[in-house]
């Protein structure tokens, strides 16, 4: 009962902030709603007993990435009023098509996931979960999901080098 109340309250907040992110006229406000959204998601994780994930969500997304967003938003055209410009891309129908495709995809995943037994443990996980899920996450990351993990890190490295190169070029 209590769990359900917590869950639905959080869900409402998460979605509400999500909507505010895209409707807010002020870019900085929009970024702030994004942070609020992330924080709500983090609390959801806590409710699911995934503390590690929750903390990482706050640390990486709310505390790291969005700060950079804010940085960029503040540095780039502080004065330009958003409603003064009409973005031609906004009127394109492509957006609706893409959104519809995404919606379909998400619903498909939901249906598929719902058809499976919800309590089935992830394959390869130790039979008895360790106290706290940090170890489980680490275990999975370095055994079953080693290749995706490494690929992701290489991708990030490439992105970093690319960013540095771009910045360098401008300087020269």
């Amino acid at each position: 009962m209590l769990e359900a109340i917590v869950f639905y309250t959080l869900a409402v907040f998460t979605l509400g902030f999500g909507v505010l992110v895209i409707t807010a006229r002020n870019t900085v406000h929009s970024v702030l709603f994004l942070v609020a959204n992330f924080l709500c998601v983090a609390v959801l994780y806590v409710a699911l007993a995934a503390e590690f994930l929750a903390v990482i969500q706050v640390l990486v997304y709310a505390g790291g990435i969005v700060v950079l967003y804010l940085f960029v938003v503040m540095l780039v055209n502080l004065k330009a009023i958003p409603e003064a410009r009409v973005d031609p891309r906004r009127r394109s129908r492509l957006g609706f098509v893409l959104a519809a495709a995404l919606l379909a995809e998400v619903s498909a995943i939901l249906v598929y996931a719902g058809s499976r037994s919800p309590m089935a443990p992830a394959p390869g996980a130790p039979a008895t979960p360790a106290p706290g899920n940090t170890e489980t996450v680490g275990w999975l990351l370095y055994t079953d999901y080693l290749v995706p993990f490494e690929v992701a890190s290489v991708l990030l490295l490439v992105a970093m080098i690319g960013a540095i190169l771009l910045a360098r070029k401008q300087e020269a």
């Binding site: 540095l75 780039v76 502080l78 771009l166 401008q170």
Partner: protein
């Protein structure tokens, strides 16, 4: 990708580290200064004009209000200029006491500079330490002439007062205290890594350029120009004393700092010699009752704590006021170098450099 937004910020006239009502308009790229414009005049009181309407004796009191942290030096410069114009002989005792007062004043001014300069760079304890020593000097001045800031301590032809009894012993004791305290300041700053990083290589100006742009005083000596009016064109009793003129070599903020620190020590050295050789005799020369210099003009400069403090005075020989009274304020001329010094540095260096050239707005604006 991003347009580099230039930011224009107004530093001052109300800003904690512009040392008064200086206004610096900074054009910034990020935090780097592209251009600095100095706007002055907020404290302009028309002292030159005012002095052309006051009689010769009254002007001493107005000169106090220019460089108000070194009032006695201003008095000295003015009195010497009028004495030069009148070819007056000043008795040696007065010359010696004037020298002592001027050197005490130099120490007081440097204390204030050190404190505020260190404070600008974030070392706030040095500020209070330096003010503690300055307070001792103010006490000495209070005992000598009753005032603590604007002394009106000199007269044309000599001094209004002889030193009070046992004052010389107190000055000696102060010199001993100061020598140990200067070591204390140096312990806190001279070899401090952060201090070195903040001051070395900041605001470098070479000797030729420093001369061309009109720097004088410690700011010029920091750029390895051995120019000290006390040595080059001795006035008061400076010819009688042995002292060194410290110079820097790199011409950066650190060298200007070192030069001033060394000047503390040289000043106590001069004061001690002056006290040792203090002659007996009158303190006021043969001054006519009505001071009215013969028609003519002269420029006379002394080494004030900030640099070359010059007076250009024209007398028409008929009226009891100067026909033209002009001050060459060292702070004004040194401040002119600020835009050149801060160019390409960061905002944090701007405050360090304002401190480093040591200005007093009362003198810049007059």
């Amino acid at each position: 990708m991003f347009d580099t937004n230039e930011l224009v910020i107004n530093m001052g006239p109300q800003h904690p580290s512009t040392h008064g009502v200086l206004r610096v308009v900074l054009r910034l790229d990020g935090e780097r200064v592209i251009e600095a414009k100095v706007v002055i005049g907020y404290l302009h009181r028309g002292i030159e004009k005012l002095c052309e309407h006051r009689d010769w004796g009254q002007i001493v009191l107005i000169t106090d209000r220019m460089d108000y942290v070194a009032a006695a030096s201003n008095n000295l410069g003015y009195c010497e200029t009028v004495e030069k114009l009148m070819s007056l002989e000043v008795p040696p005792r007065a010359q010696y006491i004037r020298t002592i007062l001027a050197e005490l004043q130099r120490i007081a001014s440097h204390c204030l500079w050190l404190g505020t300069h260190a404070m600008d760079i974030g070392a706030m304890t040095v500020f209070l330490y330096a003010f503690r020593e300055r307070e001792l000097i103010l006490d000495l001045f209070e005992e000598y002439c009753g005032a603590r800031l604007t002394y009106n301590a000199m007269r044309i032809g000599g001094l209004p007062l002889d030193i009070p009894p046992r004052w010389d012993a107190k000055v000696r004791a102060f010199c001993d205290i100061l020598d140990t305290k200067v070591d204390e300041y140096e312990e806190l700053l001279t070899h401090n890594r952060i201090w070195l990083e903040r001051t070395r290589g900041v605001g470098v100006i070479g000797a030729a350029e420093a001369i061309a742009i009109g720097l004088s005083g410690p700011a010029l000596r920091g750029s390895a120009v051995p120019r000290d009016i006390r040595k080059d064109e001795p006035y008061a009793a400076y010819a009688d004393f042995a002292f060194d003129v410290p110079i820097g070599d790199a011409g950066d903020t650190y060298d200007r700092y070192l030069v001033r620190i060394e000047e503390f020590r040289q000043s106590t050295r001069i004061i001690r010699q002056a006290l040792d050789g203090l002659p007996e005799g009158p303190i006021l020369g043969k001054v006519p009752r009505l001071i009215k210099p013969p028609a003519g003009e002269t420029y006379h400069a002394i080494e004030s704590p900030k640099g070359e403090l010059g007076y250009f005075i024209v007398s028409d020989g008929k009226s009891n006021v100067p026909y033209r009274f002009r001050v060459r304020p060292p702070s004004f001329c040194n401040l002119q170098a600020l835009p050149r010094l801060v160019k390409g540095h960061l905002v944090a260096d701007v405050v360090a450099l304002i401190g480093s050239i040591d200005i007093v707005l009362g003198e810049v604006d007059r």
